[in-house]
């Protein structure tokens, strides 16, 4: 019997939590920034896929990385609205989520913003000057991965993944 889309969705959510836990281990061990960001990118991507899979189907969702920038702000808006609607800084935080979600999506090697952005957390790339850049030596200046924005984003991803992993069955459209 084929696995249900809901089962895939819960699987994505649980793996996202494991990715986040691994990011914490890497951060505590002072691993290079590329590795910390790699696990953050994977956690964000899998959390988004969890929220997409039940309604769009695993086959439709599994093939691409390019969902984070669109979906993560939707997840953030829902959680801020339902759980923290009176928070006067929610609008500011959402604007930060949008910026960071775009940067995080571009960390995947497959996402290059139309050949404009080659920087990624996994493979060396050639920059505009013809130099080979290496992820473990690159500062990734667009993301401060210990800043308040990332801390809030990690908290959001964790909350969203944890909530889905425990209750995802009912997200399916009947």
């Amino acid at each position: 019997m084929p696995a249900s889309d809901s089962a895939w969705a819960r699987g994505y959510a649980r793996q996202a939590l494991s990715d986040l836990a691994t990011r914490e281990v890497l951060a505590a061990a002072k691993a290079n920034k590329c590795h910390r960001l790699h696990y953050l990118q994977m956690a964000a991507e899998k959390t988004c896929k969890a929220y997409l899979t039940a309604n769009n189907g695993h086959e439709q969702v599994r093939k691409t990385h390019a969902y984070v920038a669109h979906v993560l702000p939707i997840v953030a808006r829902q959680f801020y609205a339902v759980r923290n609607g009176g928070n006067p800084i929610a609008a500011w935080e959402l604007s930060q989520v949008r910026i960071l979600a775009r940067e995080i999506e571009l960390l995947a090697p497959a996402c290059d913003d139309g050949d404009v952005r080659e920087d990624n957390t996994e493979y060396p790339w050639r920059n505009g000057a013809g130099e080979v850049k290496i992820p473990c030596e690159y500062p990734f200046p667009g993301i401060d991965d210990s800043g308040k924005g990332i801390v809030r984003l990690v908290r959001l991803i964790h909350t969203a993944a944890e909530f889905y992993s425990s209750t995802g069955e009912s997200a399916r459209i009947p």
């Binding site: 309604n55 939707i74 808006r77 609205a81 609607g85 609008a91 909530f163």
Partner: protein, 109 residues
């Protein structure tokens, strides 16, 4: 785009409350419509909202599903479809070309 007249129900009230909360936390949200059919009497069928958001990436009709969160006052599953103002204007005849979904009543801030 004309909204579909809908009688009130607990589920519709929940949809209105969710839409207001989304407007409240996100100034980029321009308009929100209920997506029909809403299946007012079926609590297992999600509330579905079409949200027009300034600056969103254009991904077409890509439903994002949420489980109920009764501990925080949301008793129904929900689905959000986010589109840009340009994508919204391009929706022809209220048909979303996803299942049998159509654009329904506009929900206000």
């Amino acid at each position: 785009m004309e909204g579909e007249a809908t009688m009130s129900s607990p589920k519709l009230e929940a949809a209105r409350k969710l839409a207001k909360a989304h407007f409240r936390v996100d100034p980029q949200v321009r308009r929100i419509h209920l997506i029909q059919p809403n299946h007012d009497q079926n609590p297992d069928e999600p509330i579905k909202l079409l949200e027009v958001v300034e600056g969103t990436l254009e991904c077409g009709i890509l439903p994002v599903g949420f489980v109920p969160d009764p501990a925080h006052g949301l008793d129904y599953p929900s689905v959000i479809v986010e589109v840009s103002p340009r994508e919204y204007e391009a929706i022809e005849g209220g048909k979303l070309n996803f299942k049998d979904w159509t654009v329904g009543e506009e929900l206000l801030a």
